[in-house]
């Protein structure tokens, strides 16, 4: 069979490693608009919901019962349900309608109504709506910090670096569940070394998670998972009431909580009941709200590949983030689990959260390489840090991360590794050696760490969990070993726990350990001139990527003493002999001494003159003063040349062969890719010019195409051209030059 070389190549592209399937509503494989999704409806009799979304109360499942009892504002439900869905969609996309007005009505909407509203919105409208409905004004970001060795020094070092990089929350988890208390400890010490006020959590089984929080080792919990059908909910070994109780239990200990939901989980668990993913997510979100959670982690999360296998999947995931925001929930908007093999696709998807901004753009940016990510995460990882910082800088969008330099990273990593070493020593845990501290300081991944003995660590972790040791023990240990600033930060986390300010919606701590939440930093976006925009210190910080150079030094390697052999004689006259005139740019050999490709101007002159001489022709050299433009320079050369053939040569090396009867912007041969030009090429240019002058048949000089050259060198190109232009003297006519050198003939 015939095979297209192009299709063969396309088949090997990353995008074609993905699975794409057609929708199958009966299996729940449909992101929105399942034919089995109910139509929105509500019936209220004497303050009691008797039917919702086409279902009578007698047929309500546990989720329906929880939603009508805790999530819906029945005072507004009838008004809210009566307003047509397209009307809501328009209000959401309209910058002139403030979020409070929409939130008031959304409080009375059923799951089917919520789903119906976003049906009318395209991705751009949803992004506009998300920018407005997001709970916190200032966007932020969360990091994942784990490693497969579960090495405490590496965890602490990576957590410290993540804190320095600006993440407001750091989440860890376990490979071996028994490591939970130690991993939580390492993350706590690491983050508070990096920046006081970073919230931390350790994702483990619910009851264990609560015990870690009670010990003060974690300050928030996120993995309170909810599902959109009763059977998936109970498969997850919970009910809306057990989850609501857990939420209150955490809050009673001053711990922030966020629930987790997301499209696709019900289909993955085989219990989607023929409903669309988005409708089931709307049910989840109303359970989350009804339970009194301040927020949710959603955006498909670990199931992301499933909606992305289906048409409209990325749009549906954005829609679920938006639904959560509409309900006044803090949103940590996914982008964590591996979603695509294709970097184009994963970045495009990210933009739907990155551009509008969410409370946490990632619910786990992998601040470690993906092979060390124990969440199945790493869609964006430590190896993408520089890319991410550049995206922020490109769009002037605050993605919740700041660039840091290598020195700062090494300094803070060592300090965190030393701090956890000190805590282990004081608490008589299996020692962390100096070699392990050294390794953690410079490490990129687990592969860079020495092995630890697993059994003593696990036994110590069990004993630590069972003991009375808590965050106060850790504070004492740190203080005894000279880490009093870290100890102070951890104690301040304890004080904040007593004050409870960070239990309010969408709370984080800023660089000054001040709480920012919906209460004191509520989103006030109402179009241009309002809402959050990175400015001042934050925008300067975002710009200051370590790779950015001062443009002033760019041309230094191209500057030197003027060429002594190149002497100006006086105004140039038109020649009468058969010759080639080589016309130079105003800065050639004076203000500038090297081409963009690094060739010395003297060598370039010699090469061209040798080429002309090789055909037995003579050359004259002139300098053009009135223009720095290559075509204009070459044109002057052609007009002054006795043969009508001239070569124009800019200081950066761009060259043209011109002929006097051609239009100024036309040419015989043009060599715009100056970085690719070699001395051999210049010699061939010289010889071709001579052949044109002699009227010989001439094969144009072949130059290799390098489309990357402009990409790499455009700043330098601009700055070299600026130097050339600075040397322009509009009043001064072309000058004859003498170059004190003779080619070998």
């Amino acid at each position: 069979m015939e095979r297209s070389k192009r299709f063969d190549l396309l088949a090997k592209r990353d995008i074609n490693k993905e699975t794409f399937v057609e929708p199958w509503p009966e299996a729940g494989l449909i992101v929105a608009d399942s034919p089995y999704d109910p139509r929105p409806s509500i019936e209220i009799e004497s303050g009691r919901v008797v039917a919702m979304d086409g279902r009578r109360r007698a047929d309500f499942d546990a989720l329906d019962l929880f939603i009508v009892s805790h999530a819906l504002d029945l005072n507004i439900a009838e008004e809210a349900m009566a307003l047509p869905s397209p009307e809501y969609a328009r209000m959401l996309a309209d910058i002139n309608v403030p979020r409070e007005e929409i939130a008031r009505l959304i409080a009375g909407c059923s799951p089917a109504k919520l789903t119906d509203i976003v049906r009318h919105m395209n991705v751009l409208e949803m992004m506009m709506a998300l920018a407005k409905m997001r709970v916190r004004r200032t966007p932020a970001n969360q990091a994942h910090v784990t490693n497969w060795r579960e090495h405490p020094a590496l965890l602490a070092a990576d957590a410290a670096e993540a804190a320095r990089r600006g993440f407001a929350e750091v989440e860890t988890t376990v490979r071996v569940a028994r490591f939970a208390p130690f991993n939580a400890l390492a993350i706590l010490v690491g983050t508070q070394t990096g920046r006081g006020g970073v919230l931390t959590q350790c994702s483990v089984e619910e009851a264990l998670g609560l015990r870690l929080a009670m010990k003060g080792l974690t300050s928030y919990a996120e993995t309170l998972s909810v599902y959109g059908t009763e059977l998936t909910f109970t498969d997850g070994d919970d009910t809306p009431w057990s989850k609501a109780f857990l939420a209150s239990a955490y809050a009673s200990r001053g711990v922030k909580i966020r629930f987790t939901s997301g499209t696709g989980s019900e289909a993955l668990m085989g219990r989607a009941e023929q409903k669309s993913m988005l409708y089931l997510e709307a049910r989840c979100l109303l359970v989350v709200k009804g339970a009194g959670s301040q927020g949710v982690q959603n955006g498909s999360i670990s199931c992301i590949a499933l909606p992305e296998a289906l048409p409209g999947g990325v749009r549906a995931v954005l829609a679920e983030n938006l639904l959560a925001s509409m309900l006044g929930l803090e949103v940590a908007s996914g982008n964590d689990a591996l979603a695509s093999h294709s970097s184009i696709r994963k970045t495009a998807k990210l933009m739907t959260q990155f551009i509008p901004g969410t409370d946490f753009i990632f619910s786990g940016y992998s601040a470690i390489p993906k092979r060390d990510n124990l969440f199945g995460g790493g869609n964006f990882d430590a190896e993408d840090f520089d890319d991410y910082n550049v995206l922020q800088r490109d769009m002037q969008i605050d993605g919740g991360v700041r660039p840091i330099g290598e020195d700062e990273a090494l300094m803070i990593r060592r300090k965190a590794a030393c701090a956890i070493q000190a805590v282990y020593r004081e608490l008589k845990l299996p020692p962390i050696t100096d070699a392990e501290v050294d390794a953690a300081t410079v490490a990129h991944s687990s592969d860079d760490m020495p092995e630890r003995e697993l059994l003593p660590d696990l036994e110590a972790a069990d004993a630590f969990l069972a003991s009375d040791a808590d965050f106060l023990t850790v504070i004492r240990a740190l203080r005894n070993c000279g880490f009093s600033d870290v100890a102070d930060n951890i104690l301040e986390m304890g004080r904040q726990r007593i004050a409870g300010d960070y239990l309010q919606p969408s709370a984080i701590f800023d660089d000054d350990f001040k709480v920012l939440s919906a209460i004191n930093d509520g989103n006030d976006y109402t179009g241009p001139g309002s809402g959050y925009r990175p400015a001042g210190r934050r925008w300067r910080e975002m710009q200051a990527i370590p790779q950015a150079k001062s443009p002033e030094g760019f041309v230094d390697p191209h500057v030197g003493a003027p060429l002594a052999r190149l002497v100006e004689l006086g105004p140039a006259a038109k020649g009468r002999q058969n010759e080639v005139v080589l016309a130079l740019g105003p800065a050639f050999g004076c203000a500038l001494r090297r081409t963009i490709g690094g060739l010395d101007h003297e060598d370039v002159l010699k090469a061209i003159l040798s080429g002309i001489a090789s055909e037995g022709l003579v050359a004259r050299i002139v300098r053009v003063y009135h223009s720095s433009d290559c075509a204009a320079i070459g044109y002057v050369g052609a007009r002054l040349s006795g043969s009508g053939i001239g070569i124009g040569l800019q200081s950066r090396g761009t060259t043209v062969i011109h002929q006097h009867h051609l239009a100024p912007l036309n040419n015989l041969e043009l060599f715009p890719q100056s970085p690719s030009l070699t001395l051999e090429t210049y010699e061939r240019i010289g010889s071709n010019a001579a052949r044109y002058a002699l009227g010989l048949a001439t094969v144009p000089v072949a130059v290799k195409i390098d489309n990357g050259a402009r990409l790499r060198l455009i700043v330098k190109t601009a700055l070299l051209h600026r130097r050339e232009t600075d040397a322009v003297d509009a009043q001064k006519p072309p000058q004859e030059l003498r170059f004190a050198w003779e080619p070998d003939t």
Partner: protein
């Protein structure tokens, strides 16, 4: 909501569950062993204050949760874990949940939590989520 954040604007009024003031929570006191984990627990009144702030801010469900949390501040850790376990699917009989509700009300004046437990009991019975 002029008091929010309490940490900045009302620190002098804040008390821990054991009655300690903010001024007493220092690293020196921790180092001297004068404070225990119990001394750094949140007081129910603080959570009630946060609940009022949440309600005024337009977050009534969060406010209700914080009120339930306020009631739970006095419930010991182990007991919290036991209640949670009992609320999971098919762990409790109908009467277990009612008894627990009565206990929470009687021992901790936790009326909001008791109401949640009673509601759970009814729904669990209706939906087959009680112990079999």
């Amino acid at each position: 909501m002029s008091e929010y954040p309490l940490r900045e604007n009302a620190a002098e009024q804040l008390r821990t569950l054991s009655g300690k003031s903010f001024e007493e929570i220092t690293t020196e006191a921790v180092a001297a062993g004068e404070l225990t984990g119990e001394d750094l627990r949140t007081h129910g009144d603080t959570l009630r204050q946060q609940a009022a702030i949440a309600r005024a801010g337009g977050y009534p469900q969060l406010a209700a949760n914080l009120l339930r949390a306020a009631e739970l501040t006095e419930v010991p850790n182990d007991e919290l874990l036991k209640i949670y376990e009992l609320l999971r699917p098919e762990r409790a009989a109908y009467d277990d949940l009612l008894k627990l509700a009565q206990h929470l009300e009687g021992s901790y004046r936790a009326t909001e939590n008791a109401a949640m437990l009673r509601e759970a009991a009814r729904v669990y019975r209706e939906r087959g989520l009680l112990r079999r």
